[in-house]
Assembly symmetry: C2
Homo-oligomer: 210 residues x 2
DNA sequence: GTCTATATACGGATAGAC
DNA sequence: GTCTATCCGTATATAGAC
Protein backbone atom coordinates (compact mmCIF):
# COMPACT_ATOMS: atom_id res chain seq x y z
CA UNK A 1 0.00 0.00 0.00
CA UNK A 2 2.86 2.38 0.69
CA UNK A 3 4.69 4.03 -2.15
CA UNK A 4 7.82 2.20 -1.17
CA UNK A 5 7.42 -1.26 -2.65
CA UNK A 6 7.31 -4.27 -0.36
CA UNK A 7 9.68 -7.01 -1.41
CA UNK A 8 7.50 -9.69 -2.96
CA UNK A 9 8.31 -13.30 -2.48
CA UNK A 10 9.61 -13.66 -6.03
CA UNK A 11 11.89 -10.73 -5.58
CA UNK A 12 15.03 -12.75 -4.99
CA UNK A 13 18.25 -12.66 -6.91
CA UNK A 14 18.93 -15.66 -9.10
CA UNK A 15 21.61 -16.75 -6.71
CA UNK A 16 19.18 -16.65 -3.78
CA UNK A 17 16.54 -18.52 -5.75
CA UNK A 18 18.98 -21.31 -6.47
CA UNK A 19 20.13 -21.54 -2.87
CA UNK A 20 16.60 -21.59 -1.51
CA UNK A 21 15.60 -24.33 -3.93
CA UNK A 22 18.78 -26.29 -3.21
CA UNK A 23 18.09 -26.13 0.52
CA UNK A 24 14.61 -27.55 0.04
CA UNK A 25 15.65 -30.36 -2.28
CA UNK A 26 18.86 -31.35 -0.49
CA UNK A 27 17.08 -31.38 2.86
CA UNK A 28 14.38 -33.61 1.46
CA UNK A 29 16.37 -36.06 -0.65
CA UNK A 30 20.01 -35.81 0.38
CA UNK A 31 23.02 -35.20 -1.84
CA UNK A 32 23.12 -38.42 -3.85
CA UNK A 33 19.42 -38.58 -4.72
CA UNK A 34 19.25 -34.93 -5.70
CA UNK A 35 19.72 -34.03 -9.37
CA UNK A 36 20.79 -30.56 -10.39
CA UNK A 37 17.69 -30.66 -12.62
CA UNK A 38 15.53 -31.01 -9.49
CA UNK A 39 17.04 -27.84 -8.12
CA UNK A 40 16.64 -25.91 -11.36
CA UNK A 41 12.99 -26.98 -11.60
CA UNK A 42 12.29 -26.18 -7.95
CA UNK A 43 13.78 -22.72 -8.36
CA UNK A 44 12.43 -22.05 -11.86
CA UNK A 45 15.85 -21.03 -13.15
CA UNK A 46 17.79 -22.42 -16.07
CA UNK A 47 19.92 -25.46 -15.42
CA UNK A 48 23.11 -23.86 -16.67
CA UNK A 49 22.85 -21.05 -14.16
CA UNK A 50 23.49 -23.41 -11.31
CA UNK A 51 27.00 -24.01 -12.55
CA UNK A 52 27.42 -20.37 -13.49
CA UNK A 53 26.78 -19.26 -9.91
CA UNK A 54 28.04 -22.21 -7.88
CA UNK A 55 30.53 -24.05 -10.10
CA UNK A 56 29.32 -27.51 -9.12
CA UNK A 57 26.59 -29.45 -7.37
CA UNK A 58 29.05 -30.44 -4.67
CA UNK A 59 30.07 -26.86 -3.98
CA UNK A 60 26.45 -25.80 -3.70
CA UNK A 61 25.81 -28.69 -1.37
CA UNK A 62 28.68 -27.71 0.90
CA UNK A 63 27.31 -24.21 1.20
CA UNK A 64 23.86 -25.50 2.15
CA UNK A 65 25.31 -28.00 4.60
CA UNK A 66 27.46 -25.41 6.33
CA UNK A 67 24.52 -23.05 6.76
CA UNK A 68 22.33 -25.89 8.00
CA UNK A 69 24.90 -26.96 10.58
CA UNK A 70 25.35 -23.42 11.80
CA UNK A 71 21.61 -22.83 11.98
CA UNK A 72 21.10 -26.03 13.90
CA UNK A 73 23.92 -25.71 16.41
CA UNK A 74 23.92 -22.02 17.12
CA UNK A 75 20.79 -22.27 19.28
CA UNK A 76 22.35 -25.12 21.20
CA UNK A 77 25.58 -23.28 21.68
CA UNK A 78 24.00 -20.10 22.95
CA UNK A 79 21.67 -21.96 25.30
CA UNK A 80 24.44 -24.19 26.65
CA UNK A 81 27.06 -21.52 27.15
CA UNK A 82 25.00 -18.89 28.91
CA UNK A 83 26.73 -18.59 32.28
CA UNK A 84 23.91 -16.67 33.92
CA UNK A 85 21.11 -19.22 33.69
CA UNK A 86 20.48 -22.25 35.87
CA UNK A 87 20.65 -25.79 34.55
CA UNK A 88 16.88 -26.02 34.64
CA UNK A 89 16.63 -22.79 32.71
CA UNK A 90 19.04 -23.90 30.02
CA UNK A 91 16.99 -27.01 29.42
CA UNK A 92 13.75 -25.05 29.13
CA UNK A 93 15.26 -22.62 26.67
CA UNK A 94 16.83 -25.38 24.63
CA UNK A 95 13.62 -27.38 24.36
CA UNK A 96 11.61 -24.32 23.43
CA UNK A 97 14.03 -23.09 20.81
CA UNK A 98 14.47 -26.46 19.17
CA UNK A 99 10.88 -27.48 18.96
CA UNK A 100 10.09 -24.15 17.33
CA UNK A 101 13.03 -24.54 14.97
CA UNK A 102 12.07 -28.09 14.04
CA UNK A 103 8.41 -27.33 13.45
CA UNK A 104 9.63 -24.80 10.88
CA UNK A 105 12.43 -27.01 9.49
CA UNK A 106 11.55 -30.64 10.19
CA UNK A 107 13.93 -32.04 7.58
CA UNK A 108 17.16 -30.63 9.00
CA UNK A 109 18.04 -33.41 11.47
CA UNK A 110 17.61 -36.34 9.11
CA UNK A 111 19.46 -34.36 6.45
CA UNK A 112 22.47 -33.67 8.67
CA UNK A 113 22.55 -37.12 10.24
CA UNK A 114 22.21 -39.09 7.04
CA UNK A 115 24.91 -37.10 5.27
CA UNK A 116 27.06 -37.34 8.37
CA UNK A 117 26.94 -41.10 8.15
CA UNK A 118 28.65 -41.05 4.75
CA UNK A 119 31.11 -38.15 5.00
CA UNK A 120 31.89 -37.80 8.70
CA UNK A 121 35.28 -36.11 8.59
CA UNK A 122 34.82 -33.13 6.31
CA UNK A 123 31.38 -32.04 7.42
CA UNK A 124 31.99 -32.16 11.10
CA UNK A 125 35.19 -30.20 11.00
CA UNK A 126 33.11 -27.29 9.80
CA UNK A 127 31.49 -26.83 13.16
CA UNK A 128 33.28 -27.12 16.47
CA UNK A 129 30.89 -29.39 18.28
CA UNK A 130 33.38 -30.16 21.00
CA UNK A 131 33.00 -26.57 22.07
CA UNK A 132 29.23 -26.70 21.75
CA UNK A 133 28.80 -29.91 23.69
CA UNK A 134 31.64 -31.39 25.68
CA UNK A 135 33.30 -28.17 26.68
CA UNK A 136 30.07 -26.25 27.16
CA UNK A 137 29.16 -24.45 30.35
CA UNK A 138 26.18 -26.81 30.54
CA UNK A 139 28.53 -29.74 31.05
CA UNK A 140 30.52 -27.99 33.76
CA UNK A 141 27.36 -26.93 35.49
CA UNK A 142 25.99 -30.44 35.33
CA UNK A 143 29.13 -31.81 36.99
CA UNK A 144 28.95 -29.25 39.78
CA UNK A 145 25.29 -30.11 40.43
CA UNK A 146 26.33 -33.73 40.74
CA UNK A 147 29.08 -32.85 43.22
CA UNK A 148 26.63 -30.80 45.25
CA UNK A 149 24.32 -33.82 45.43
CA UNK A 150 21.56 -31.97 43.65
CA UNK A 151 21.23 -34.52 40.88
CA UNK A 152 21.92 -38.19 40.48
CA UNK A 153 25.49 -38.97 39.34
CA UNK A 154 25.48 -40.20 35.77
CA UNK A 155 27.50 -39.42 32.67
CA UNK A 156 26.21 -36.10 31.33
CA UNK A 157 26.22 -37.66 27.87
CA UNK A 158 23.15 -39.63 28.92
CA UNK A 159 21.27 -36.40 29.50
CA UNK A 160 22.43 -35.07 26.16
CA UNK A 161 21.20 -38.22 24.47
CA UNK A 162 17.87 -38.08 26.27
CA UNK A 163 17.35 -34.44 25.41
CA UNK A 164 18.29 -34.96 21.78
CA UNK A 165 16.25 -38.14 21.56
CA UNK A 166 13.14 -36.62 23.08
CA UNK A 167 13.32 -33.42 21.06
CA UNK A 168 14.70 -34.46 17.69
CA UNK A 169 13.72 -38.07 17.20
CA UNK A 170 9.97 -37.46 16.84
CA UNK A 171 10.69 -35.25 13.85
CA UNK A 172 12.87 -37.91 12.29
CA UNK A 173 10.20 -40.57 12.62
CA UNK A 174 7.35 -38.25 11.64
CA UNK A 175 7.23 -39.28 7.95
CA UNK A 176 6.58 -42.80 9.15
CA UNK A 177 4.04 -41.72 11.73
CA UNK A 178 2.09 -39.71 9.21
CA UNK A 179 2.18 -42.34 6.51
CA UNK A 180 1.12 -45.25 8.67
CA UNK A 181 -0.04 -44.06 12.04
CA UNK A 182 -2.43 -41.90 10.10
CA UNK A 183 -1.28 -38.96 12.18
CA UNK A 184 -1.84 -35.70 10.37
CA UNK A 185 0.52 -32.75 10.26
CA UNK A 186 -1.42 -30.55 12.68
CA UNK A 187 -1.95 -33.40 15.11
CA UNK A 188 1.75 -34.01 15.04
CA UNK A 189 2.58 -30.36 15.62
CA UNK A 190 0.11 -30.24 18.50
CA UNK A 191 1.89 -33.17 20.13
CA UNK A 192 5.22 -31.39 19.65
CA UNK A 193 3.93 -28.22 21.27
CA UNK A 194 2.75 -30.29 24.23
CA UNK A 195 6.26 -31.64 24.51
CA UNK A 196 7.67 -28.14 24.97
CA UNK A 197 6.20 -28.09 28.44
CA UNK A 198 6.67 -31.77 29.23
CA UNK A 199 10.25 -32.54 28.24
CA UNK A 200 11.84 -30.22 30.82
CA UNK A 201 9.73 -31.85 33.55
CA UNK A 202 10.65 -35.30 32.32
CA UNK A 203 14.32 -34.45 32.34
CA UNK A 204 13.96 -33.13 35.89
CA UNK A 205 12.26 -36.37 36.93
CA UNK A 206 15.10 -38.35 35.40
CA UNK A 207 18.02 -36.52 36.96
CA UNK A 208 16.68 -35.70 40.40
CA UNK A 209 17.97 -37.66 43.41
CA UNK A 210 15.50 -40.10 44.90
CA UNK B 1 39.21 -80.77 13.91
CA UNK B 2 36.31 -83.11 13.37
CA UNK B 3 36.00 -85.07 10.17
CA UNK B 4 32.83 -83.24 9.33
CA UNK B 5 33.91 -79.89 7.96
CA UNK B 6 32.86 -76.73 9.76
CA UNK B 7 31.31 -74.17 7.47
CA UNK B 8 33.99 -71.52 7.01
CA UNK B 9 33.06 -67.89 6.74
CA UNK B 10 33.69 -67.87 3.01
CA UNK B 11 31.45 -70.84 2.51
CA UNK B 12 28.46 -68.88 1.25
CA UNK B 13 26.65 -69.23 -2.02
CA UNK B 14 27.19 -66.44 -4.50
CA UNK B 15 23.67 -65.26 -3.90
CA UNK B 16 24.27 -65.04 -0.16
CA UNK B 17 27.57 -63.23 -0.68
CA UNK B 18 25.84 -60.60 -2.76
CA UNK B 19 23.02 -60.14 -0.29
CA UNK B 20 25.37 -59.83 2.65
CA UNK B 21 27.48 -57.26 0.85
CA UNK B 22 24.41 -55.38 -0.32
CA UNK B 23 23.09 -55.21 3.22
CA UNK B 24 26.34 -53.70 4.45
CA UNK B 25 26.66 -51.13 1.70
CA UNK B 26 23.00 -50.13 1.51
CA UNK B 27 22.84 -49.76 5.28
CA UNK B 28 25.89 -47.56 5.26
CA UNK B 29 25.27 -45.36 2.22
CA UNK B 30 21.62 -45.66 1.29
CA UNK B 31 20.14 -46.55 -2.08
CA UNK B 32 21.10 -43.51 -4.14
CA UNK B 33 24.74 -43.29 -3.03
CA UNK B 34 25.35 -47.01 -3.47
CA UNK B 35 26.78 -48.20 -6.77
CA UNK B 36 26.32 -51.78 -7.88
CA UNK B 37 30.10 -51.75 -8.25
CA UNK B 38 30.41 -51.05 -4.52
CA UNK B 39 28.40 -54.16 -3.80
CA UNK B 40 30.38 -56.33 -6.19
CA UNK B 41 33.64 -55.14 -4.63
CA UNK B 42 32.40 -55.60 -1.08
CA UNK B 43 31.30 -59.15 -1.88
CA UNK B 44 34.22 -60.05 -4.13
CA UNK B 45 31.92 -61.30 -6.87
CA UNK B 46 31.73 -60.21 -10.47
CA UNK B 47 29.58 -57.21 -11.28
CA UNK B 48 27.48 -59.04 -13.86
CA UNK B 49 26.41 -61.63 -11.32
CA UNK B 50 24.43 -59.07 -9.38
CA UNK B 51 22.04 -58.69 -12.30
CA UNK B 52 22.14 -62.42 -12.99
CA UNK B 53 20.86 -63.22 -9.50
CA UNK B 54 18.77 -60.18 -8.65
CA UNK B 55 17.76 -58.62 -12.00
CA UNK B 56 18.33 -55.04 -10.83
CA UNK B 57 19.81 -52.86 -8.13
CA UNK B 58 16.32 -51.77 -7.14
CA UNK B 59 15.06 -55.30 -6.76
CA UNK B 60 18.03 -56.21 -4.59
CA UNK B 61 17.43 -53.09 -2.52
CA UNK B 62 13.78 -53.98 -1.94
CA UNK B 63 14.79 -57.40 -0.67
CA UNK B 64 17.28 -55.90 1.77
CA UNK B 65 14.81 -53.28 2.91
CA UNK B 66 12.06 -55.78 3.53
CA UNK B 67 14.33 -57.99 5.60
CA UNK B 68 15.62 -54.98 7.52
CA UNK B 69 12.12 -53.78 8.33
CA UNK B 70 11.07 -57.22 9.47
CA UNK B 71 14.18 -57.65 11.58
CA UNK B 72 13.67 -54.29 13.19
CA UNK B 73 9.96 -54.47 13.93
CA UNK B 74 9.52 -58.08 14.87
CA UNK B 75 11.12 -57.56 18.29
CA UNK B 76 8.87 -54.61 18.89
CA UNK B 77 5.79 -56.45 17.81
CA UNK B 78 6.44 -59.47 19.98
CA UNK B 79 7.28 -57.36 23.02
CA UNK B 80 4.27 -55.09 22.58
CA UNK B 81 1.70 -57.77 21.89
CA UNK B 82 2.51 -60.17 24.68
CA UNK B 83 -0.70 -60.24 26.71
CA UNK B 84 0.86 -61.92 29.73
CA UNK B 85 3.48 -59.35 30.72
CA UNK B 86 3.00 -56.13 32.66
CA UNK B 87 3.57 -52.74 31.12
CA UNK B 88 6.79 -52.41 33.10
CA UNK B 89 7.92 -55.77 31.85
CA UNK B 90 7.23 -54.96 28.22
CA UNK B 91 9.37 -51.89 28.48
CA UNK B 92 12.27 -53.77 30.04
CA UNK B 93 12.16 -56.44 27.38
CA UNK B 94 11.91 -53.91 24.59
CA UNK B 95 14.85 -51.86 25.82
CA UNK B 96 17.00 -54.93 26.30
CA UNK B 97 16.21 -56.44 22.93
CA UNK B 98 16.73 -53.24 21.01
CA UNK B 99 19.96 -52.14 22.56
CA UNK B 100 21.40 -55.58 21.85
CA UNK B 101 20.06 -55.47 18.31
CA UNK B 102 21.43 -51.98 17.69
CA UNK B 103 24.87 -52.70 19.09
CA UNK B 104 25.07 -55.45 16.49
CA UNK B 105 23.39 -53.45 13.70
CA UNK B 106 23.88 -49.75 14.44
CA UNK B 107 23.16 -48.62 10.88
CA UNK B 108 19.64 -50.02 10.58
CA UNK B 109 17.67 -47.08 12.00
CA UNK B 110 19.29 -44.33 9.95
CA UNK B 111 19.00 -46.59 6.90
CA UNK B 112 15.28 -47.16 7.35
CA UNK B 113 14.48 -43.60 8.34
CA UNK B 114 16.43 -41.90 5.61
CA UNK B 115 14.94 -44.10 2.90
CA UNK B 116 11.53 -43.63 4.44
CA UNK B 117 11.84 -39.90 4.00
CA UNK B 118 12.08 -40.29 0.21
CA UNK B 119 9.80 -43.22 -0.57
CA UNK B 120 7.25 -43.28 2.23
CA UNK B 121 4.34 -45.05 0.57
CA UNK B 122 5.81 -48.21 -0.88
CA UNK B 123 8.17 -49.11 1.91
CA UNK B 124 5.80 -48.70 4.73
CA UNK B 125 3.07 -50.78 3.19
CA UNK B 126 5.41 -53.71 3.48
CA UNK B 127 5.08 -53.83 7.22
CA UNK B 128 1.89 -53.30 9.10
CA UNK B 129 3.07 -50.81 11.67
CA UNK B 130 -0.41 -49.84 12.68
CA UNK B 131 -0.72 -53.32 14.08
CA UNK B 132 2.69 -53.13 15.72
CA UNK B 133 2.15 -49.76 17.31
CA UNK B 134 -1.25 -48.17 17.45
CA UNK B 135 -3.29 -51.33 17.75
CA UNK B 136 -0.79 -53.13 19.97
CA UNK B 137 -1.67 -54.62 23.31
CA UNK B 138 0.86 -52.18 24.79
CA UNK B 139 -1.35 -49.26 23.79
CA UNK B 140 -4.49 -50.82 25.24
CA UNK B 141 -2.66 -51.67 28.42
CA UNK B 142 -1.32 -48.14 28.68
CA UNK B 143 -4.82 -46.71 28.39
CA UNK B 144 -6.15 -49.01 31.10
CA UNK B 145 -3.31 -48.02 33.45
CA UNK B 146 -4.27 -44.41 32.87
CA UNK B 147 -7.92 -45.13 33.68
CA UNK B 148 -6.90 -46.95 36.85
CA UNK B 149 -4.92 -43.88 37.90
CA UNK B 150 -1.67 -45.82 37.94
CA UNK B 151 0.08 -43.50 35.53
CA UNK B 152 -0.21 -39.92 34.52
CA UNK B 153 -2.68 -39.30 31.68
CA UNK B 154 -0.84 -38.38 28.50
CA UNK B 155 -1.05 -39.46 24.89
CA UNK B 156 0.68 -42.85 24.66
CA UNK B 157 2.45 -41.60 21.56
CA UNK B 158 4.60 -39.48 23.85
CA UNK B 159 5.87 -42.60 25.57
CA UNK B 160 6.52 -44.25 22.22
CA UNK B 161 8.51 -41.22 21.15
CA UNK B 162 10.47 -41.12 24.39
CA UNK B 163 11.27 -44.80 24.22
CA UNK B 164 12.31 -44.63 20.60
CA UNK B 165 14.25 -41.45 21.16
CA UNK B 166 16.13 -42.75 24.17
CA UNK B 167 16.92 -46.11 22.62
CA UNK B 168 17.44 -45.41 18.95
CA UNK B 169 18.63 -41.83 18.71
CA UNK B 170 22.04 -42.37 20.35
CA UNK B 171 22.88 -44.85 17.61
CA UNK B 172 21.85 -42.39 14.94
CA UNK B 173 24.04 -39.66 16.36
CA UNK B 174 26.95 -41.97 17.14
CA UNK B 175 28.93 -41.26 13.95
CA UNK B 176 28.97 -37.62 15.00
CA UNK B 177 29.83 -38.43 18.60
CA UNK B 178 32.74 -40.61 17.57
CA UNK B 179 34.09 -38.22 15.01
CA UNK B 180 33.96 -35.11 17.13
CA UNK B 181 33.24 -35.98 20.73
CA UNK B 182 36.25 -38.23 20.44
CA UNK B 183 34.12 -41.00 21.92
CA UNK B 184 35.45 -44.40 20.93
CA UNK B 185 33.41 -47.39 19.90
CA UNK B 186 33.81 -49.31 23.15
CA UNK B 187 33.09 -46.25 25.27
CA UNK B 188 29.94 -45.75 23.27
CA UNK B 189 28.86 -49.36 23.66
CA UNK B 190 29.53 -49.16 27.40
CA UNK B 191 27.22 -46.16 27.64
CA UNK B 192 24.57 -48.05 25.70
CA UNK B 193 24.79 -51.03 28.00
CA UNK B 194 24.36 -48.69 30.98
CA UNK B 195 21.21 -47.41 29.32
CA UNK B 196 19.68 -50.91 29.29
CA UNK B 197 19.20 -50.62 33.03
CA UNK B 198 18.48 -46.90 33.14
CA UNK B 199 15.91 -46.30 30.41
CA UNK B 200 13.17 -48.42 32.02
CA UNK B 201 13.64 -46.53 35.28
CA UNK B 202 13.56 -43.22 33.47
CA UNK B 203 10.35 -44.14 31.70
CA UNK B 204 8.84 -45.14 35.04
CA UNK B 205 9.85 -41.80 36.52
CA UNK B 206 8.22 -40.04 33.60
CA UNK B 207 4.86 -41.79 33.62
CA UNK B 208 4.28 -42.30 37.33
CA UNK B 209 1.69 -40.14 39.08
CA UNK B 210 3.14 -37.55 41.42
C1' DG C 1 23.33 -12.87 -17.05
C1' DT C 2 20.58 -16.17 -19.42
C1' DC C 3 19.60 -19.32 -22.85
C1' DT C 4 20.24 -23.82 -26.18
C1' DA C 5 22.95 -27.34 -27.49
C1' DT C 6 26.35 -30.52 -26.49
C1' DA C 7 30.48 -32.67 -24.54
C1' DT C 8 31.87 -35.91 -21.14
C1' DA C 9 31.63 -39.11 -17.41
C1' DC C 10 29.49 -42.40 -14.91
C1' DG C 11 26.56 -46.21 -13.57
C1' DG C 12 23.15 -49.92 -14.45
C1' DA C 13 22.42 -53.47 -17.29
C1' DT C 14 23.26 -56.98 -21.00
C1' DA C 15 25.53 -59.80 -24.85
C1' DG C 16 28.09 -63.41 -25.63
C1' DA C 17 32.38 -66.25 -24.86
C1' DC C 18 33.92 -69.71 -21.77
C1' DG D 1 27.45 -70.01 -13.29
C1' DT D 2 31.04 -66.78 -14.17
C1' DC D 3 33.70 -63.85 -16.86
C1' DT D 4 35.02 -59.64 -20.30
C1' DA D 5 33.57 -56.22 -23.05
C1' DT D 6 30.30 -53.02 -24.13
C1' DC D 7 25.90 -50.77 -24.72
C1' DC D 8 23.02 -47.03 -23.44
C1' DG D 9 20.50 -43.96 -20.57
C1' DT D 10 21.13 -40.33 -17.43
C1' DA D 11 23.35 -36.48 -14.98
C1' DT D 12 26.92 -33.03 -14.41
C1' DA D 13 29.17 -29.62 -16.53
C1' DT D 14 30.54 -26.46 -20.33
C1' DA D 15 30.69 -23.99 -24.96
C1' DG D 16 29.00 -20.52 -27.28
C1' DA D 17 25.05 -17.70 -29.12
C1' DC D 18 22.18 -13.98 -27.62
Amino acid sequence: MSTKSIKSKNDFSTEEKIKNAARIVFHKKGFAATRTRDISEESGINLALLNYYFRSKENLFNIIMLESLQGFFQSMSSAFNDETSSLENKIEILVNNYIDLLIENPDIPIFILSELRTNPKELISKIDIKKVLLKSYFFKQFQSYVKAGKITPIHPMHIMMNLAGMIVFPFIMSPGLKEIGGIKQDEFNKLMLQRKAMIPKWIQAIIKVK
